[in-house]
Symmetry: D2
């Protein structure tokens, strides 16, 4: 009977699970400055950002300059209990949730990382990826630096510590050396800094709660704690919070804004806004736009949960085809869930997604999804629908073909494993066993995200679709994926 369990423990998005080869959430950051409930607010704020990272969580508070921190593997609710909250006094804090692969060596990577350096204490939490981190690491190592993690965060700390300048200038110097897409929170004994990369690839927003300031990867965290939104942190900007309040600094000029399009398409929570654009609304527009670009006569529209529900409703509203619950996800699946073995799967045991026979049987189905990475997941879902009796399955994707790796924080497979990098759309259609397949056009995507605004002020990074990256990328030596890992 053991053979039934040869599969490893199921781990949402751990890369071993080919049926759910979704792009991996990266990380989320959350900061408080000047509010007496810093640890508690961080708990709820990080909980709201949990979708950005389910593998580890951490909070570091500062109580009159004295740091208190706790980090652990697991969800926010698993890592922290009330005792932890009470042991982290202070009116300022930074916190982090991380997506990563499992393994103890990775506990060392759990953020915020906390350092002692020439200037005192330093806590750093990041979201994103530094393309030239390998080069910087090699350079630092050659100068005698040691590394205890594989996280880009440690690279930043080294750069700051090695600068002879005072903190803000040291941070500016450090950032000037970085190529990539990232959002940073840095806490010292007397200050809290927030910064975005020069193109604003990763979201970071500033809010207000009572007398204090709040920083978060997404606005949904503000709603959860009752904070009000002030503004998005701008590309190339450093916000400095100290006893005199908020100071706006800049380490790079604002040239081209390039927000990661996948944040709009898939990552961010639908109730969040990025640069003032609500995610649910823009996803619904993607569905509507798909209907305009690629109508197909069908009986029902269904979305792959959870990310494609908004788009599916948009497609249904636009076409008048009925939206139905053709696919359902088991919400209880999680870290300790035992993955069915290959043998059991072949016997028909599903994991977390099922087709609803009564809904799809005998129907022509439009299935909306956000992207196709390797193609294996899409094929499985199409087959679930067919096994449940769907007559036709028409796949509509709310993004252009994903053909290029991400260098700015998304954990993508090698280019050769991206089905769209080597196959035509017709070949992909065949591979996923669909009756028809359509990818949203690039202009359609831009239109859906930005409404009627121009692409300059609301510029996007579409590198994974068009291979046009906002930063220099040395393809031989650049680091792909997520720098928190």
């Amino acid at each position: 009977m053991r053979r039934l369990w040869t599969g490893d423990y199921y781990n949402e998005g751990n890369g071993k699970d080919d049926i759910f080869d979704k792009l991996k959430e990266e990380c989320g950051v959350f900061g408080v400055f000047g509010h007496p409930d810093a640890a508690t607010l961080s708990y709820y704020g990080l909980h709201a950002l949990q979708h950005r990272g389910e593998e580890s969580a951490g909070i570091c508070t500062s109580d009159n300059g004295v740091f208190h921190y706790h980090r652990g593997m697991g969800l926010v609710k698993e890592v922290f209990d009330r005792d932890h909250m009470e042991s982290m006094p202070g009116d300022r804090s930074i916190g982090h949730v991380r997506y990563s692969t499992a393994g103890e060596s990775k506990l060392a990577n759990a953020q915020p990382l906390v350092f002692k350096y020439r200037g005192g204490d330093l806590a750093v939490a990041t979201n994103g990826n530094i393309v030239n981190a390998p080069q910087i690491r090699r350079d630092l190592e050659s100068k005698g630096s040691i590394f205890q993690t594989t996280s880009d965060t440690e690279v930043i700390a080294h750069l700051i510590a090695r600068s002879p300048k005072e903190l803000v200038e040291a941070v500016k110097d450090a950032f000037a050396q970085l190529v990539g897409g990232f959002a940073f929170l840095i806490m010292t004994n007397d200050r809290l800094l927030a910064a975005s990369d020069p193109h604003g690839l990763r979201p970071l927003v500033l809010g207000r709660l009572g007398e204090g300031y709040i920083l978060a990867s997404e606005t949904c965290a503000f709603e959860t704690i009752g904070a009000s939104y002030l503004r998005d942190v701008q590309p190339g900007e450093i916000l400095v919070l100290d006893k005199d309040g908020l100071h706006e600094e800049r380490y790079a000029p604002l040239e081209r804004r390039a927000v990661c399009a996948m944040e709009y398409i898939y990552f961010a929570r639908p109730d969040s806004d990025i640069n003032g654009i609500n995610l649910h609304a823009s996803r619904k527009r993607m569905g509507q736009q798909l209907a305009v670009e690629a109508f197909v006569d069908a009986d029902i529209v269904t979305g792959v949960p959870d990310s494609s529900i908004s788009a599916a409703i948009g497609y249904a509203e636009q076409t008048g085809i009925s939206y139905e619950l053709g696919l359902i996800k088991n919400k209880y699946t999680g870290r300790t869930f035992i993955q069915p073995s290959q043998e059991l799967r072949e016997k028909g045991v599903k994991m977390k997604l099922s087709a609803v026979r009564k809904v799809v049987e005998g129907k022509r189905v439009v299935m909306i999804d956000d992207s196709i990475v390797r193609g294996t997941t899409s094929r499985r879902i199409v087959n679930l629908l067919r096994e449940a009796g769907a007559l036709e399955v028409h796949v509509r994707i709310t993004s252009p073909p994903f053909a290029n790796p991400c260098f700015y924080g998304i954990d993508t497979p090698d280019r050769r494993d991206l089905i769209a990098s080597s196959k035509t759309i017709e070949e992909i259609r065949e591979a996923i066993n669909a009756d028809s397949l359509y990818f949203l056009s690039k202009p359609g995507l831009i239109e859906s995200i930005g409404g009627h605004e121009d692409a300059l002020n609301r510029g996007l990074c579409l590198g994974c679709f068009d291979n046009d990256y906002p930063t220099q990328v040395d393809f031989e030596d650049a680091k792909i994926g997520c720098g928190c890992d």
Copy 2:
């Protein structure tokens, strides 16, 4: 700072949490007969039924008549690991998930309960409630019986053990004494029995997987393990599975079918079918019917997640008003989540539900929900929408006013705490701070559930709405709620 944490650990639906005073899920049962992977299938089957009970889980297998079992507090994925699976060989099993209040005394109540009696071993798992359990208990105690749990399941075991007849006859005799609504699975050293109460109040379905038979509270468990649906267990029926296969027995005539309407409205998973009716589809029809009965001019329609999404889409499709994501639920909230204190809530910290400002701001909102119990939750959700800027909030409920307690397995508060038992609809509207309020009519509900079929063959229990219960109820002495607790 301790004051921030005076609230108890959050426990989904533990009754302490007034903002989520939803009706409590009751229980789910799952059985296997004649399949070599009995324990494993039970794991996945119970996982699919997890929404019916999150507090404890248990599996008992039989390996050539030798029982192996494990029970524990928590979700299926928390209670069982691979070692447990491997320690439960056998080709037949019964399993259970239970909703209940917390506390060790309740671990004793975790099912299946396993007994030794005159006839050998006996494992029993139930869903539902026995109205006259208190009287039967008193009678058994006066005859010298002892009870180690407060579960109705133990009552049944005593009745069976005290009968001098052979098993099936003993079970029939026992059931003849019971008044209530329930679904039972009983395993002995050589047989597996499944039974439904005389009116079929609680769902129970029979399926087939390979050479084996599967029994489950809902068909969604079949889809998960790849089993095919055979039929619903009929009211008053006992199915007996032994080495000779399936035998259909009956302990009560089929007189009036009375399936719990709340299963259709709220409890069962939307991808399940009860008596051949898909739940998503019937909920969508409830939304459409609400639109017919109580149209209101508005800008958007939103559903209270997760149970009212289907109905909200139905309302939107019927009216042409746009369906939007006006409310969002944090899917990570669970057992170990720390509930915000009253103080923090007053400061604006949300728990698991948030309104999406960008979606509802400046809009006239139709909010669809399945029921109003005490009214406190509804008021909170309406206020969330108002605080997020909704101009008007029109509440539409997919069921008639819930004015009477349930005697058949739903854990309802006392009648005096049911807002609809003492207040007019206008008073409720005022209490929940809505601009308008409408409850689906009883005919509208019956129509929505049953499609165009007559109410006789697809009869419902609507006792909580109309006080007309399918069984005799001695209101002075009857047991309310869930018999598994």
Copy 3:
């Protein structure tokens, strides 16, 4: 590498571990009546009795007649945290620690067992074994009783519940049917009862703390909580504690006292007294008596830890041979310790006992131990000493040959596995690879335990040595071992 771990998780005394085939501790009970800190005192009292049972622990308190309880698998310190303590108010309680084999089915056996019956609530905790439990069970089952545990405790509860008399009389009637050796604590809504079997086989003592009464298996629990010793509960006696204080009742005449000799030799903690005799002192006398009966010229004396240290010191003092630490036990070994595989053991990896090379090398060693059960452990220890360089190993046992099973609570193997039941002393000597072997004489043992008192007032059960049992034993049908299991 997996092969290195094929051995099961190490479990002290779980019977799988042939090198530590020591006789198993049975159980310990602890009761409080009339002290406001009942739960807390139980925690410390049971902790002091932990050596009597390491597998499960439980406490049930009564707060004005309302029962609160918690039970779990593991050590007292593992089963209870502060939250549990706070959730068990009340000024009276009974508690239990149990030795048992592992497995969830055994969690159901964790005591105190708590019942509802005709008379209200009933909590029962026991130590010992009922020889005729199988017959009573069969009789009860034939009358329609069901059993949820395999514990004798449940048998008692059934007998009490089926008696039409008031509690104390019902208990007397119940006890009159029992054959065996046991100590009982019974708590009802208004009373607490303590009873010993008619021969006082298992120890049970009464003490006083402030205004309250304390009951415990051993006096060491009194010392831990600061209680003062009043007296041993007498054979055949029932102590009844209620609002009027202490009442002394009797259900059997005091005929022959027969305290389990193994309590003196091995089980009880050395700092406890039984019937006024200190255990360390009597064990030291056993060692001295061994020296008198079987002196051997040697260089050092060593005891097998922990139970035989006192005796070894006695042997050394009597002979003038130096006491040395020739064997050492790893005190950290416990429940979660991973047992070395057979392969690793053959490579030389020790488990919890090591010989100290520097001490024994080149020495003639007298090794003192308390008993030889199967002989496997003794052989291993002798070999450990030889491998560490001992020139000669002379084994001296502080008890006569253990040749017969116990019917009164000690978990002994089948008679055929008791090496002394089939082999001569010379054969045993050869089997355990000793240079010489001597078992303490029966008169020597009695003398050592009882000092200069007569064997009538301080009578012992020596059944495991001489096959003369104090109660009737139907060898065909009698239950061996521990009734809590």
Copy 4:
């Protein structure tokens, strides 16, 4: 009732527990080179060294140069399960157990620490303390180094990484800068290094198992895994193990050997040998010597468990006074044990040590202990004996007065908290409520440890007694205590 639990969770030796203000164990290290069961052997080896550190444990293996590691808080048996073992292949490893205060920040300190540096991977495990670590840290920080732990181990890694030389030379250079007492294990991708400080303050031994080499803090770890002892690592020596076998290097001349006397008196396991001297034997000689120096007429001798049992037996043998079990320790007390509140202690609840009334009542007692630190523990134990009825309590200590802090790895309180630094012996006697008090003389101690050997070859560090430290100590700036913390 909450007040009863205001005391924090009991934590053996966490400094909060004034009744057990024993000197804290420091750390233990264990290494394997060239044996296919490296992880498994480390598990058993560290388990044997558990007494040197109960707070965290870690193992890092190398499998053809690829590192695998796992670290955690708790005992070896708690930190590792079989899955961990299987996930750490390789034929070489270093491991660590650490004493420390609790807290997550300290999880970061759990060793072995693992680094990436210019030369590849580096794992380091240490026992001891670097006196001038603060100065080296400041210097490194001024050069731009960052620190993620407070452990001296990280200092060493920085020094090695910043050296431009090849590894062994870099290590020599690094060590040349260190002042202190320490034992180091260092693993790189192709080598394993072991080193002791220039005076050999901390023990480190080399052994052989099959074709492989074993390194350990104490020889007891060899016995457990079946390894044979080769020799002690010499002061100032570096052993280098690589594919060519064992190389003996030296970074400092052997001038004065100065083994920590407290290792002999208290820390090391009694079955270990240091420099060929067995610890049990030397402790027994300390007891004999005490009897020679300070005989007192008494009825019994008792030792404070566990460390002073050997000495007490020596005292008893020398004087002819009977050794008795006057004090007993509860072996189950541990990390999760709930410490009784002050209120409960005043009511008489004991923690882990009890006096045995039957043994000490009416007796004149000689109580042997190893040291007096603050005096609070000694006073409590004396009072325990008096409350149990001792007529006189004569305290005999197996070491001279402990009047000076340790700079080489023992976690001592500030000098002002050492009772012997400010009080005369008569004042201490009065403070601890003893009838008489005697500390072993320095010559008597040296004699007891070294047998008849001269103090040069078997030189000791007696700094805590005589303020004569083997290394330079800048009392203003030197680091006291344990460098692993």
